[in-house]
Each structure stands twice: as structure tokens, then as C-alpha cells.
């Protein structure tokens, strides 16, 4: 198992490295002059000033030197400073990543907590009207863009209940209840598609499992239906659900820009969006590296979870 984890981590490192190189090169390819952008509204900027700023930002060096410098620094945990405001990229990410992770975690939690009962209900009452309507609900959950849900929530909660989410984001340590209330709606909007996918996936895998021989064995022992489903069928159908979660992570971490802006959450999505728009190379790169690492890590965790759930997988890997 440890060997497997180490191996996966090494692959993960390779992936993060590739991502970095790719994004680094791509950033230089896209048009938009970061130096001039910074001097945007300053008429009368001279070429010397442009050159000086470029030198300050390290942009006058050959591309591969820049890449090398970046990688060397990055290994030491230094992603440089934002071109925009000179803030340390690590600080910026340190501020925002936890927020995005919390939001993502809440979304996943909601998706799981709502998706699993829906899926189970659907499978157990297969082909009943309840099943059909739950299926329709879950398909609808996938069909509605999350930002659209977010917009609807904000607008109509204010209109119908004269209630709107808190305006200023508070960290969980500052004000936990405000923090949770603030993140609840976007987590709901974000988690809806996760919920829907889980419900769908769980339904079909549960149906398969419920017809399998070993479930019949459990029934033949005289176990109650609750035990059959809760203890045996669920655990056996949960692996595909986990793989969905692994895939959704990318979705959730990368798909929050609009929701963050709707709910005024200072998360990674907005940071990435703005940094790309402003060609703030160090920030984009820092974000992408961190994102890649989180992605790799979460997928590793998901895979390790497979092993925990399924001894066969554990066995196959050690």
C-alpha cells in the first residue's frame, strides 16, 4: 500500500510538473502585454519605463531561464509575487484556497448527503412513480447550470423572503455561523450536479448489486432489508460513486468562478479568472500548480478509499 501511494505520488508530481510547464508556455503564447497592462492608464509612459518594469518582473530573460527560475523557486515553495500588487503568490493562495476547499467540501457533502438517499430510494422503489420522479429530478439537477441556480437563489430569496446571504465573507474562525450561512447557497448550487450524478450512479450500481448473488445470501441468512441495503449493498455500490467524486473534484474546484462572483466569495476561481485576464503569470502558475496538486491528491485519496472499501483492490495493489 505505501509503495502504491508513493508510486502514485511520484506520478502526481510528474503530472504537476507537466501542468506547470504546459501552462507556463501557454501563458507566454497568449497575447496581452503584462507590462503595458500594468502601466495602463499612465499616458506618457516611456519605453525605458516599460523596460525597467519588465526587468523588475523578470520578463526580459529568455523563456527557459524564466521557466527554470520559476521551477527552482517553486520547489522551494516560492511562487514569486503577483505582478499586480506584489503580494506573495503563496499568501494569495493561502488566503483563497481554504475558502474554495471549504466550499468544495460543503458542495461534495451536500451532494453526498442528498445524492445517496435519493439514489437508494430510487433503486429500492425501482420503476415506481417515486423512482421516475427522482430520476427526472436528478437529470434536471445535471441539466441546470450551477451559476444559473445561484442567480435564481439570490434573486428569488430576496424577492420572496426578503433574505439575502451575508455580503462579507467571514472565515470559519471569525464567525462560523455567518461563514456557513454564506457558503450554504453556493455549496447547494455547486453540489446539485454532484448530487444528481451520485443519485444516478448509485441507483444503477445499487440495482446491479441488489440482484447479485451475495445479496441473496445475506437475505437467506434472514437479514432485514435495512441491513441488506445499509450494510452490504451500499458498500458494494459505492465505488463508482467515489470515482464520480474524483471526477467532480475538478469540476468543483474549477467551476466556481461565476458562483464566487455571485456570492462574493474570495475563492480560487475568481483569482484564477482575474489573473488570467490580467496576465498575472506568477499567480496563474501558482494557482495551477496548487490546483493540479489538489487534483492529484484528491484523486489519490479517492483511490485509497477504494482500497479501504474494497479489500480486493487493496490486495491487487500491494
Amino acid at each position: 500500500m505505501t509503495e502504491y501511494v508513493i508510486r502514485r505520488l511520484l506520478y502526481g508530481l510528474l503530472v504537476v510538473f507537466l501542468v506547470t510547464v504546459f501552462v507556463f508556455l501557454a501563458l507566454r503564447l497568449i497575447p496581452g502585454d503584462v507590462v503595458r497592462l500594468q502601466l495602463a492608464d499612465a499616458p506618457g509612459v516611456t519605453e525605458e519605463q516599460v523596460d525597467r518594469l519588465a526587468a523588475e518582473l523578470g520578463l526580459n530573460q529568455p523563456l527557459f531561464t524564466q521557466l527554470g527560475t520559476f521551477l527552482a523557486d517553486a520547489v522551494r515553495g516560492d511562487f514569486g509575487q503577483s505582478f499586480q500588487d506584489g503580494e506573495q503568490v503563496t499568501t494569495l493562495i493561502g488566503e483563497r484556497l481554504p475558502i474554495t476547499l471549504q466550499l468544495g467540501a460543503m458542495a461534495v457533502l451536500f451532494g453526498v448527503l442528498a445524492g445517496i438517499p435519493l439514489g437508494v430510494l430510487s433503486a429500492v422503489r425501482r420503476n415506481s412513480w417515486l423512482d421516475q420522479s427522482l430520476r427526472l429530478v436528478s437529470v434536471a439537477g445535471i441539466s441546470i447550470p450551477n451559476f444559473w441556480l445561484g442567480l435564481l437563489m439570490v434573486t428569488y430569496l430576496a424577492l420572496l423572503f426578503t433574505w439575502s446571504p451575508p455580503l462579507v465573507y467571514q472565515g470559519p474562525t471569525e464567525d462560523l455561523s455567518s461563514n456557513l450561512v454564506h457558503l450554504a447557497l453556493p455549496a447547494l448550487a455547486l453540489g446539485t450536479s454532484t448530487m444528481a450524478s451520485i443519485a444516478r450512479m448509485l441507483r444503477s450500481s445499487l440495482l446491479e448489486v441488489l440482484h447479485s448473488n451475495f445479496i441473496r445470501t445475506v437475505r437467506a441468512k434472514g437479514a432485514s432489508e435495512l441491513r441488506v441495503i445499509g450494510k452490504h449493498a451500499m458498500r458494494n455500490s459505492v465505488v463508482p460513486v467515489f470515482s464520480i467524486l474524483g471526477l467532480q473534484v475538478g469540476h468543483i474546484l474549477g467551476g466556481t468562478v461565476i458562483l464566487e462572483s455571485i456570492f462574493g466569495i474570495p475563492g480560487m476561481g475568481m483569482l484564477i479568472f482575474e489573473s488570467v485576464q490580467m496576465r498575472d503569470y506568477p499567480v496563474v502558475l501558482g494557482c495551477v500548480v496548487v490546483y493540479g496538486a489538489v487534483f492529484v491528491l484528491i484523486n489519490l485519496i479517492v483511490d485509497v478509499c477504494y482500497g479501504v472499501i474494497d479489500p480486493r483492490i487493496r490486495y491487487a495493489r500491494t
Partner: protein
């Protein structure tokens, strides 16, 4: 209604009568079991034989009310004087495992792959016995020892995939025996196993049956197994019992053309290699295209015009019976078809 076999006991432990089981499929409702009936008494071994699809497993599952998507459309399943199709769910759960236990056809897939075998045996015990986990584990060790798994205590932690097919089937047996049931239904317990292992497993079942004084319903398609194990044999074809009787008599003197054909189709050490085997032409009819009348008639070498009518169940001596026009009380010789007329 099947004639009551003249067993020594007066009250059978399990009585299945006129059983009809239906399934709803894409092609409409099909009758997987059309008319099956038999009785099992304490300590007796009843073998249900028949080709694939003849309804053996469905019958076995119907007894435990474990039909997945099917329903009992007709007939009775009487356990110890109680009609099982009428008892409520919780009572049925009490009967499963406690009174009637079952071993399934495929040991490879019949154990939950995610739990250790110890957990699964313990579960079977604790579902019916109010005992502590440790006590249950001790009982599990004992059971594993009985089914011949060495080093039982450490083996409790093993997962099904770590065991060979034979060992898994032994674990299945241990689970079935967990609460010392009065009836064990073994649905083809050895089909997936090697011949040498098969013999060992059958021996085990036989020994345990003696030890626990269980009645045994053995579902199989292997006449060899029947010969070794059964007191009473029920031959099924296409969802019906075509013949039943005491094992010794039935195997040596079959009273239904199907039983007879089946016995000649199986090569034995004595079969003449220079001759073709006595194959039965054609194939078992599909559920949705059953022939009218006798269901075996299209493949029967003795078929004659009466066979287009449903044959009666004819009661013969020694408690035997046969579902065949040939055994009907007043057939005139002239109405018989030429036996040579083969239907290929």
C-alpha cells in the same frame, strides 16, 4: 396435486404443492415454474434434478421467498404446517437461516467480497442468536473447523477473494449451518468445483447432515451426485415435475422417457465408445414458447398423438409418479407410436 409419497413420517417438514412461479419480462409474463410439488421429511435427502432452466433454482428460491422479481402465482409451500406464502416478512426472516438455510450455486459470487468471512459467518449467527461478538466468533471458528478449513481462527480475517472456490463453498456451508437449520437447501453446491473437490464437499454435506440431523434438498443436474446422495429424486423438465420416486428405483428403472433419455445421454465409464451417445434431440423449449400438451413431446422418441394434450400425473407403486401418457392407466397398445420414430 402430487400424490403423497409413502414416507415413513406422517407429517413432512416441507411440502411444496402445485407451485407456479411467474416472472414479468420484456416479452410478457413467463412461467418459470409451472407445476412442481414434492415433500421433504426430517433427515431425508431429496434431489431435484433437471436440465438448465427447468426451474430448480426458482423452486428453491420460492421456498425461501427470495424470488428476485418473480411471484408465486399458485400453489402452497408449507413449512412445518405453516404456509410460507402467507407469513409476514419478519416471520419469514426468522425462518431464513434459522429453520431453512440455503447454499447457492456459485460460491465465487455468493459471498460479499467486501467483508471478511468471519464477519459474514458472525452476521449469520447474530441475526438469530442473541450472543456477544466474541461468542459468535468462537462459534464461527468452530463452524470453519467443521467444514474443514484448517487454521480457522486466522482464516476468519480472510476475504473471499483470498480463498479458493472449494474453500468459499465451505464458507457458504458454514454460514448455512450457523444456526443449525432443520432444512438445508443446496442449489448445485458443486458445479463450480473440481471433481476431486466436489467429492470432498459432498462428503462434507453428507456428514454434516447426519451430525445436525437436517433434511436436505439437493438441487443438481448431475445424476452421479444424485445416485450418491439422494433418498428421493424429483426430476424436472421445463418447469414441471415429470417424475419422482426413491433414488434407487428411479435411476435403475426410470418411468418417464425424459429420465430415461437423460440417463443414456450421460457417458459413463462403461459407455461404448464406438457408439454415438444417446442424445436427446432438440433443446429445452424457451419459456415463452412452450409446446402445448406434454412439454417433452417434441423431443420424445415415444411421442404419439395423445401427447399434444397435457399428460396426467400418474401415480405408480412405491410412491413413485410420472407425468406421461405412456403410464396413464388405460392406454391401448394400438395408440402407441412406433418407438423407432425419432424426433430429431
Amino acid at each position: 396435486m402430487w400424490p403423497n409419497a409413502e414416507h415413513e413420517q406422517t407429517v413432512p417438514l416441507l411440502r411444496v404443492a402445485d407451485l407456479r412461479v411467474e416472472f414479468d419480462t420484456a416479452r410478457g409474463t413467463v412461467e418459470a415454474v409451472n407445476d412442481i410439488g414434492f415433500e421433504v421429511s426430517a433427515e431425508q435427502t431429496v434431489a431435484i434434478v433437471g436440465e438448465s432452466g427447468s426451474g430448480k433454482s426458482v423452486t428453491a428460491l420460492a421456498v425461501l421467498q427470495l424470488l428476485d422479481g418473480g411471484r408465486i402465482a399458485n400453489g402452497q409451500i408449507v413449512w412445518d404446517g405453516q404456509d410460507l406464502s402467507a407469513v409476514d416478512k419478519s416471520r419469514m426472516r426468522g425462518i431464513r437461516g434459522e429453520d431453512i438455510a440455503m447454499i447457492f450455486q456459485d460460491p465465487m459470487t455468493s459471498l460479499d467480497p467486501l467483508y471478511s468471512i468471519g464477519d459474514q459467518i458472525v452476521e449469520a449467527i447474530r441475526l438469530h442468536r442473541k450472543i456477544s461478538k466474541t461468542e459468535a466468533r468462537d462459534r464461527a471458528v468452530e463452524l470453519l473447523g467443521q467444514v474443514g478449513i484448517p487454521d480457522a481462527r486466522t482464516r476468519l480475517r480472510a476475504y473471499p477473494h483470498e480463498l479458493s472456490g472449494g474453500q468459499r463453498q465451505r464458507v457458504m456451508i458454514a454460514i448455512a449451518l450457523a444456526c443449525a437449520p432443520r432444512l438445508l437447501i443446496a442449489d448445485e453446491p458443486t458445479t463450480a468445483l473440481d471433481v476431486t473437490i466436489e467429492a470432498q464437499v459432498l462428503e462434507l454435506i453428507r456428514d454434516l447432515q447426519r451430525q445436525y440431523q437436517m433434511a436436505l434438498v439437493l438441487v443438481t443436474h448431475d445424476m452421479g451426485v444424485v445416485a450418491e446422495m439422494a433418498d428421493w429424486v424429483v426430476v424436472c423438465y421445463a418447469g414441471q415435475v415429470v417424475e419422482q420416486g426413491p433414488a434407487g428405483k428411479l435411476l435403475t428403472d426410470p418411468q418417464h422417457p425424459y429420465t430415461e433419455a437423460l440417463l443414456t445421454a450421460i457417458p459413463t465409464p462403461e459407455t461404448d465408445k464406438s457408439q454415438p451417445l444417446g442424445a436427446i434431440g432438440g433443446a429445452v423449449p424457451a419459456l415463452h414458447e412452450m409446446p402445448p400438451g406434454c412439454r417433452f413431446q417434441p423431443r420424445c422418441r415415444h411421442a404419439w398423438q395423445d401427447c399434444t394434450q397435457p399428460p396426467p400425473v400418474v401415480r405408480l407403486d412405491g410412491g413413485r409418479s410420472s407425468r406421461c401418457w405412456l403410464r396413464a392407466p388405460a392406454p391401448t397398445e394400438s395408440r402407441r407410436a412406433e418407438p423407432e420414430q425419432e424426433l430429431a
